[in-house]
């Protein structure tokens, strides 16, 4: 009987091994640089095409040169700003402000989102306001902030906070809402209560929504910062990219204006691509929510 049992057991083992081998497909992934290349060249081609069209329009003389500078004019303007050191200084100032503002928003938005997501009365009270705030362009806060805080850093950070906190909090809320109730029940069966349940089940389960909120929160931080910098200008405030842009406008320096827009765009994209996109991809890929090859 026991010998027979062993035989049956071995049979079962090999059967299961066979099934497992049949059912799990090892995916071959391309080397990293190939994937990177595949993701990079299409946008590069698109940008190159755009520049070519721009140059053609410039050559055709549709608009006078002072209304539409050529790509090389803009490049020259960027080079001048770089050589003068203003570009680096402004970039550093803006990125620092954006980063600090974002971190502060994170510190406020995360607990706020948790409260709204988990406490029903708080949700009834603040939930609608929070989603409403998200659709309010944060530029609208600039005049009020100037009246409250004058032309100071506080004004800038206030506007950034008003832009980013609702996004981050709402991201947290939607992350929490998307947690399947089944996971919480599983947690309870496994003996997770209160804090342990939050730490081991609720928060990890809410992470994808939260990370989406962070990404959006950064976009809102950056936008709000630029709005604030464009409007709130004063020698007391360090030079930021927004202020640089407004300076060019006042000097009627069209290449400088386009260079400013380009700088803002590139910084925003760079931080999004280098920081938030990889984090989000990682979180999703670990859970099998995106195909490994894309």
């Amino acid at each position: 009987m026991s010998l027979l049992d062993h035989r049956a057991n071995d049979d079962l083992a090999s059967l299961e091994a066979g099934l497992d081998a049949l059912e799990s497909n090892e995916r071959k992934t391309l080397p990293r640089w190939r994937r990177w290349l595949a993701a990079t060249w299409p946008p590069l081609v698109a940008v190159a095409l755009l520049v070519v069209v721009w140059q053609l329009v410039y050559n055709a003389g549709v608009l006078p040169a002072y209304r539409l500078p050529s790509p090389s004019d803009v490049l020259a303007s960027l080079r001048d700003q770089w050589q003068a050191g203003t570009l680096q200084q402004a970039t550093w100032n803006s990125v620092r402000r954006g980063g600090l503002g974002f971190l502060a928003s994170l510190a406020i938005g995360t607990p706020l989102g948790l409260l709204v997501g988990r406490v029903r009365s708080v949700r009834r009270a603040i939930g609608p306001i929070l989603s409403g705030l998200q659709s309010l362009p944060s530029v609208a806060w600039v005049p009020a902030a100037i009246l409250w805080f004058g032309l100071s850093d506080a004004t800038i950070y206030f506007v950034v906070l008003m832009g980013a906190v609702p996004s981050i909090a709402n991201g947290m809320v939607s992350g929490l809402d998307q947690v399947p109730p089944l996971y919480l029940r599983v947690g309870r069966v496994l003996g997770a209560r209160g804090l342990a349940s939050a730490r081991h089940v609720l928060l990890p389960a809410a992470l994808p929504g939260y990370v989406g909120g962070l990404r959006q929160g950064w976009a809102f931080s950056w936008r709000s910062l630029m709005a604030a910098e464009l409007i709130a200008r004063s020698p007391d405030l360090g030079l930021g990219v927004g202020q640089l842009l407004d300076q060019s406008r006042q000097l009627q320096d069209f290449p400088g204006v386009l260079a400013g827009i380009l700088t803002i765009l590139v910084i925003g994209i760079a931080i999004e691509l280098c920081l938030f996109a990889p984090i989000e991809r990682r979180v999703l890929r670990r859970r099998g929510l995106v195909a490994a090859t894309s």
Partner: protein
């Protein structure tokens, strides 16, 4: 084999699970479960059989302590029962072995011991090399086996299973039936297994309890006097399945106009 045949009739030892006059309704709705009384003997494999929506999952949540009966009592003298859900319900942010480890961790098992025990349990369900895989990299059958390992990690001798193999293909399911029978013997488990598949119930159980629908009541019990290992295709299993199916159909017919 005679030893196994006897298992269904053991009534002298204290039951591992006791339900007495259990009634359950949600809010002001109708009774989902109505006066259900049931004993699961220590070491018994009991299959609870009923049509879809008759309250099987509800009954298991009561036994697992996830919910309270409206009236009546549910007792699990050995403490907490382990529950395997209808879906594998593994946490996708953890690897297979981390899923098992979490169950141990929540029981307060130390870090080093956790790792070893998780590896042991995965070996038990023959997934010793799949511990590092993420949930989405596992096949359906492998997921259910990890879920089984996680349930075993709760170190409860009572295992509640809610249609754990319903979503699997017939071949994988058959293999997992063998696996479960094997585990139950080697780990000396008491199993309360819920299913709407008559053959599965007869294939696995020492006893099959038929539950009616709306409200859920115990209508009939069958002792399965066929020795393990059984095969789902065997004439003995088919024979008893036929009897049970007829009874189930008669039960459903009683609802006549409703469906």
């Amino acid at each position: 084999m005679t030893v196994l045949e006897d298992q269904g009739t053991v009534t002298t030892t204290a039951p591992a699970v006791t339900l007495r006059g259990v009634t359950k309704r949600f809010g002001q709705g109708p009774n989902i479960l109505d006066d259900v009384s049931l004993d699961v003997a220590e070491g018994e494999f009991l299959c609870l059989l009923g049509a879809s929506g008759c309250g099987k999952s509800t009954l298991l949540s009561l036994v697992a302590g996830l919910d309270r009966p409206t009236t009546g009592t549910v007792e699990v003298p050995g403490g907490r029962a382990a529950l395997m859900f209808q879906e594998p319900a593994l946490f996708p942010w953890l690897t297979a072995s981390q899923n098992v480890e979490l169950a141990l961790r929540l029981r307060g098992v130390g870090k080093k011991e956790r790792r070893e025990r998780a590896q042991e349990l995965l070996t038990l369900v023959r997934l010793k090399d799949a511990g590092g895989k993420r949930v989405h990299e596992l096949s359906g059958g492998m997921r259910q086996r990890v879920a089984m390992a996680r349930a075993l990690a709760q170190d409860s001798h009572v295992l509640l299973m809610d249609e754990p193999f319903a979503a699997l293909d017939a071949i994988t399911r058959d293999v997992l039936h063998d696996e479960l029978v094997h585990l139950r013997q080697s780990q000396k488990l008491t199993v309360l297994f819920v299913t709407h598949n008559v053959r599965e119930a007869v294939r696995l159980g020492d006893r099959v309890v038929l539950l009616s629908s709306r409200p859920g009541r115990v209508v009939k019990e069958y002792e399965v006097k066929i020795g393990q290992p059984r095969r789902i295709e065997s004439p003995e299993v088919a024979q008893l399945s036929m009897t049970v199916t007829d009874e189930l159909r008669a039960e459903i017919r009683r609802h006549g106009g409703q469906s």
